[in-house]
Structure formats: C-alpha cells, structure tokens
C-alpha cells in the first residue's frame, strides 16, 4: 500500500503523561512523527493533538485504533491532506541592515504575504503562515541573504468533515 501524509487529530483530556503515552504508540511501531501540536480544542477543557505522519492508510488506521484505546482519549481521526484545511507558521529572524542593503528582501516580504512581527536595531522577525511549500519557497529565497534563526510550527489542521466530540460526551452523560 502506498505511503502518504496523514493528519491524526486526537481529542483528549488534558492530563500529564498522555503525550508520552501517545508518542509511545508511534515509537513502538517505529513510525516517525513529522509534526506534533497540542492545544485547546473547541470544547472546554478538552485538548487536541494534531500529529502528522507519513504511512500507509492501514497503519494510520491501526495507530488511530491504538490511540483511541488510551483511557483519556475521547476520539481520534486520521485524514488525508485533501480532507483537511491545514497551515503552518514559520518565523524568520534576519539582520536589520539587510532590509536596507538588500532591496530584494522587501519584495520577498511583499510577494510572500509575510508579516513583520518586530524590528529592532539588530534584527527583524518575519512571520509567514501558509502551506509547507510556501514557507519552504520563502526560506529558499531568503537563504542567500543569511537567516539568523528559523523555526516552523507543527501543522495545524481542521477537518472538512465534522468531528462530533460534544455529541459523544453528551451521550456519555445521558447514559448515566
């Protein structure tokens, strides 16, 4: 079966140790985590993990099955890129004098729709949100001028299909 990128979304309680438990599921199967983000979700007190892996669909399905087995996981999903809306953000720290010495940099900022986050005497910081390839392109363009620091966030994704977590929680309370 063909390998491709899958975005795994996990709704869970916010407990110490759960990240370790979830990452262990990938470790046990020798699967690399391409990116990982943990944040609050649309539901109060419920966390959301967004994990990107490259694998076959069969493995993505099995991993989601193992993740859902964890006591504090409410529900997990896997989606292909086509089934999600996703973005990443990158920060570029660049020497301030380049802004004046290298006029092309200003064009790169304009063309790539990047934001200037801060400017100080020594450096300025650009923020760029978008698809991975857009960030990569901007990185390639800026690289020749010298990038002091670069960092790119994990993928953030929402699925096109519904993830009915609130309904599942309601059912639990109704059953009681």
């Amino acid at each position: 079966m063909e390998e491709q990128r899958y975005t795994i979304s996990i709704y869970s309680e916010n407990n110490i140790g759960l990240l370790n438990r979830i990452s262990g599921i990938f470790l046990k199967r020798h699967i690399n985590i391409e990116s990982l983000n943990v944040s609050k979700s649309e539901i109060e007190n419920i966390s959301k993990f967004t994990i990107v892996i490259i694998s076959t669909e069969e493995w993505a399905r099995k991993i989601v099955g193992q993740i859902e087995k964890q006591i504090e996981v409410i529900k997990a999903y896997y989606h292909t890129d086509e089934e999600t809306i996703f973005q990443q953000t990158a920060l570029f720290k660049i020497a301030s004098h380049l802004l004046f010495d290298e006029r092309q940099i200003q064009n790169i900022i304009k063309e790539s729709n990047a934001q200037i986050v801060t400017v100080s005497r020594d450096f300025f910081v650009l923020a760029k949100s978008g698809r991975r390839f857009e960030i990569d392109e901007m990185h390639e363009k800026l690289k020749p001028y010298g990038i002091m620091q670069f960092v790119r966030s994990a993928r953030l994704a929402v699925s096109k299909a519904e993830m009915p977590i609130s309904k599942m929680l309601q059912e639990f309370y109704q059953d009681k």
């Binding site: 916010n14 262990g24 099995k62 996981v73 009681k176």
Partner: protein
C-alpha cells in the same frame, strides 16, 4: 484532574482527617481487596505501617522479589476473576514490577500495582531510589497515574480498579509520593462506574450479529477459534450453548484453554505453533472461521499471507483495535462475548456438521500415531513430559488448576493437561515470561484455596524465581510444584537442533540438587528418575495437604511436536 470527572455511585465511605497511607487501605477494602502481594521499602513505608494496623482485614503476602508479587497478583486474578494487587517501593521495587505489568498487559490480566515514590519536592532530583516509573511503565500499562497529593487518592484508586477490570482488562499502576502518604485529609470514597473518555464495552450491533448468523447458517465447514475473551467475559455457558446449537468444531488458543471442558465433544484442541494437527491444517480448509475473544497472535496464525485465505472470517471481540489488526475480517462483532454470544444464539440454526467433524477426528488419529502416543504412552526408557502431565491429570481427576511457565513443558502441559472447569490454566502466553509459574501458582492458590494448584515448570524458568520457595514456606501455601528437568533450556535447544545445526549455544544447564534446595526451605520433596516411580510420586504429591516439590528427570533432548516453524503456514505444521 479537574476535567476527568468520574461518574459516581451514591454509596460513599467517609473518614475525617486520615493520612493518605490509611486512605489507601480504605480504598483497597472498599474495592473488596483482602489480599495483596508485595515487598516493603523506604518510599512505601507509611502504607506498610497501615498494613500492620489493618492486618486482620487485609492480608499482605511478602514475596521475595517484586516481580514475584506482580506475577502472584496475576495468578490470583486469573484464577478468581478479581483484580490482583501488588505493592512495592520506589526505584528498584517499582522497576522489578515491570515484567509483571508487561505480562499482564499482553495477556489482559486485571491487576493494580501500587508503588511508593520519593516526596514531591524531591521529584526529578535523582533522589535515593527515585525512578520515573510512570515513564517506564506507560507502554506496559492500561493506565497509570502519579499521585502527589493525599486528596487525590480516593478518586484515582477508584479509577484504577475500574479501569483494570472493565472492558478488556489490564494492569494499572498508581505511583504515590511519600508526602501524599503522610499528609492528612478528609477521606470520602465512591466507586467509579464510568469515565467520559473511556468506552470499555462497545454496544452490540444487531446488524453485525445478523450478518454473522447468516454466514454461520450457510457455512458447510465452519470452524471456531476461541481465546481468553470467553473466560474474561464469563461467557463459558453462552459459548457452550452457541457451539452445541451450531455443532461447530471449536479449537482454543493457549489463553482460551479450560474455557471449554477438555472432554467436550466439540473441543478439537489447540491452534498455533505447537497446537494440534487438525485445528491448524483445517484452519486452511474451513469456509467460515469464527474467532471469539482472540487476537490472531503470530504464534496462532503462522504466516498471515497463507492464513485462512479461503474462509470468510467473523471476529467477536471487545476491543475495536483488534479488528483487522492482523487478519482482515468479513464481519466484526464488537462487544462483551457473553452479551454477543447470547444475542446470536437465537439467530443460528441447529446443525451437526458430522462429515466436517470426521476430518478433525481423522487428523487427530494421524497426530495420535505420529506424536501423542509417543508423548503420553512412551516405550523408550527416558521419561517424557507428556506422561508426567497425564499422570497429573489422572491423580487430580482433571480438577487441578495447572500453572505453567514458558518453554517445552508449557507447550506439552497445554497440549495434554485436561480440564473440567474454566479459569484452570494459568500461563504466560503473550509475553512468554520465564519465571512466571512459581509466583503465579502462589497467587492462584491464594485465590482458590479450595482447589488443587499444580505448577509445572522447566528447570530454566524455575530458577528465575526460585526464591519464592521462601514465600511458600512462610505462608504454608500448599502449592504443588513439578519441575520437568531436562538440564536444558529445552525450547531454545529444540530450535538450535532444528534451525541452527545443533549448535547448543548456552542452553545446557548444570543444575543444583533441586530436592535439597526444596528441603532447605522445609518443603517436602521427591525426585523421580524412573517410569515406574512416576504415578506413585504424583499421587503422593496430590494427596499431600502441604506444599510439595516433585522433580522429574525427563529425556534431555526431546522435541515438542507438532510444530509450525516460525514464519511457515498453518498448513505446513510438522508432525516430526
């Protein structure tokens, strides 16, 4: 923890201003625990101090190693169906539990392990006997939690027991910092009956059950493979009713052993690497394969590429993650086996399948001539493991709980031991933990004092937890220990013989005098080296009301057959 609200029952036990350590005792008592296995040490001393005060209501069994405490808790749980409890100190005490946790995890055994931990203010400081047992035990526990405040104890302990025993059971570890044991708080205990993020038992899907029933009804050569799910779900009666109505030949995985009486006419034996010939070969000839509470382990399936490819497959299981994990199935029936088997009973037809059954009988005869006769009624001078197991069957009227370790003796015991009752075979199946049997037998005996408990162990595994003879002596636990001694790590030697051109790398054992060792622990002991001594010795052992040790010197280089070589197909099971 605020977000993890457990649904509570109305019954509440309260006690004002008690220490965390005392609270732990009350939690155990509230959960119906009257016995726990453990080993004291610095970080768990406040709890032991309370155990001293509560010794009339809570019996603590001092094992000689924490690993043995975990295995004893497993043995207790497996024989009784209740949650086994083990307790240990921080650091090495906690890490010594890990093998037991891993074993309980892979064999779905409900145990709760309690470990002491350094005080909260010392966490992460590399304090004396500090170890990150939460990190270490995460992959081998169903759930774990570190308590750092006394007030957390009731809710976490309630969750621990609930999680360990509900759904697909498993091990839970609760790590408790020393300050949380010392601090006082107002105790109030309510049993847990639900966690919003945890759905232990899927609701049966009637449509799936109907699809399964119609497949079963139209099958010409249906075949059942059942596992421990039948035992864990207390579904033995429902299972029996189902197979008797449908007339389907039924084989068991090693952990399903004893769920169906050995002499039941539809019991066709064991599947897997050293299972019976018929069940293995006919797996690839059935038209509908019905898997019940089993997980298609690689030791059961052999090569997946050639496993039951001709069959439609129905999988009954409580764990959705097991569906399509190893074998792609046509119908998944999720739920508790007792419930789903109960529901399907009305929907299946009365059938006999006599001709199909004849094929199992024919294969059994082939296996009997090629293997079983030589194992059970040998004519060669050396004693076989099979005849010892048969002698135990005879002396105990098939009523004993048989606890086995890992290796050749385990395969032979599971092949030849006969059972009348469920929950009677206790072995380390998934993990294959040598050293399991002796402590597990202690736990099993304490969990079923009215039953005969016989541990059958190899000379290798016996020495991995031989120190537990002291626990047996101290508690006067009347377990019967049979060591089948071939002075080899027999199963590894067998593989060396068959697949490594007899290069016996580190498998020959120069053993001590096991009888003297048992006698050193004041345990009555006897050694059998000749066939004519065997029956008498086994009868004497079974008759004894005390702990008893029996060493049987068996043939040094016997092999266990049938055998599916690693990676081969179930069709290629070898009879020699």
């Amino acid at each position: 923890m605020e977000s993890v609200k457990s649904k509570k029952q109305s019954k509440t036990k309260t006690a004002l201003n008690i220490t965390g350590a005392e609270a732990i005792i009350h939690c155990l008592l509230e959960e119906g625990v009257d016995l726990l296995f453990g080993y004291p040490g610095g970080a768990i001393m406040p709890v032991y101090d309370e155990l001293y005060k509560f010794q009339d209501s809570l019996n603590h069994v001092l094992t000689r190693h924490e690993q043995a405490a975990a295995h004893a808790a497993q043995g207790y749980a497996r024989v009784s169906g209740k949650v086994g409890v083990a307790i240990a100190t921080s650091g090495p005490g906690a890490t010594n539990l890990v093998t037991g946790l891993a074993d309980a995890q892979i064999d779905s055994t409900p145990i709760v392990c309690i470990t002491g931990q350094v005080p909260r203010h010392l966490l992460g400081s590399d304090a004396f006997q500090e170890t990150d047992i939460i990190g270490i035990s995460t992959p081998v526990t169903k759930w774990n939690y570190q308590i750092t405040e006394a007030s957390e104890i009731p809710e976490i302990m309630a969750k621990a027991f609930y999680i360990a025993k509900s759904g697909r059971p498993g091990p839970v570890l609760v790590d408790i910092t020393k300050n949380a044991q010392f601090d006082s708080f107002d105790f109030s205990y309510e049993k847990c009956d639900g966690i919003r993020s945890y759905k232990p038992v899927p609701k049966p899907d009637i449509e799936a059950i109907e699809t399964a029933a119609s497949l079963i009804n139209s099958a010409k050569k249906p075949f059942i493979v059942f596992g421990q799910g039948v035992i864990l779900g207390n579904a033995e009666e429902e299972f029996k009713a189902f197979i008797e109505k449908t007339g389907i030949p039924s084989a068991w995985t090693i952990l399903g052993l004893s769920a169906l009486p050995s002499d039941h006419p539809l019991n066709v034996g064991m599947v897997g690497m050293h299972g019976n010939y018929g069940p293995n070969v006919l797996t690839n000839e059935c038209d509908v394969l019905i898997a019940i509470g089993m997980r298609f382990d690689d030791r059961v399936t052999g090569n997946l590429e050639s496993y039951a490819k001709q069959a439609r497959i129905i999988h009954f299981d409580i764990d959705p993650a097991e569906i399509n994990k190893n074998v792609k199935v046509d119908v998944a029936v999720l739920g508790d086996a007792r419930e789903t088997l109960g529901l399907i009973l009305d929907k299946v037809d009365n059938k006999k399948h006599d001709a199909w059954h004849q094929e199992f009988t024919k294969k059994y005869k082939e296996e009997y001539e090629a293997v079983i006769r030589h194992d059970v009624l040998p004519t060669k001078p050396g004693l076989t493991m099979g005849e010892v197991v048969s002698a135990i069957n005879d002396a105990s009227n098939n009523d004993a709980v048989i606890v086995t370790d890992v290796g050749q003796h385990q395969m032979v015991a599971c092949r030849y031991a006969r059972f009348n009752d469920s929950k009677s075979s206790i072995t380390s199946g998934g993990l294959g933990t040598m050293g399991f049997a002796l402590p597990a037998a202690i736990g099993a005996k304490m969990g079923a004092m009215d039953r005969e408990v016989v541990a059958i162990i190899g000379d290798g595994g016996y020495q991995m937890n031989i120190q537990e003879l002291a626990t047996i002596f101290q508690n006067k636990t009347p377990v019967k220990i049979v060591v089948l001694n071939n002075d080899f790590l027999g199963m590894v030697r067998q593989w060396q013989e068959l697949f490594f051109e007899r290069r016996y790398a580190s498998t020959e054992m120069v053993n001590p005098d096991f009888v003297k060792i048992a006698e050193g622990y004041f345990i009555e002991a006897r050694r059998v080296t000749k066939r004519h001594e065997l029956n008498d010795a086994v009868r004497e052992m079974i008759k004894s009301k005390e702990p008893y040790f029996l060493e049987v010197k068996v043939e040094k280089e016997d092999n266990v057959f049938p055998m599916i070589p690693s990676g081969a197909s179930v069709s290629d099971v070898r009879l020699k």
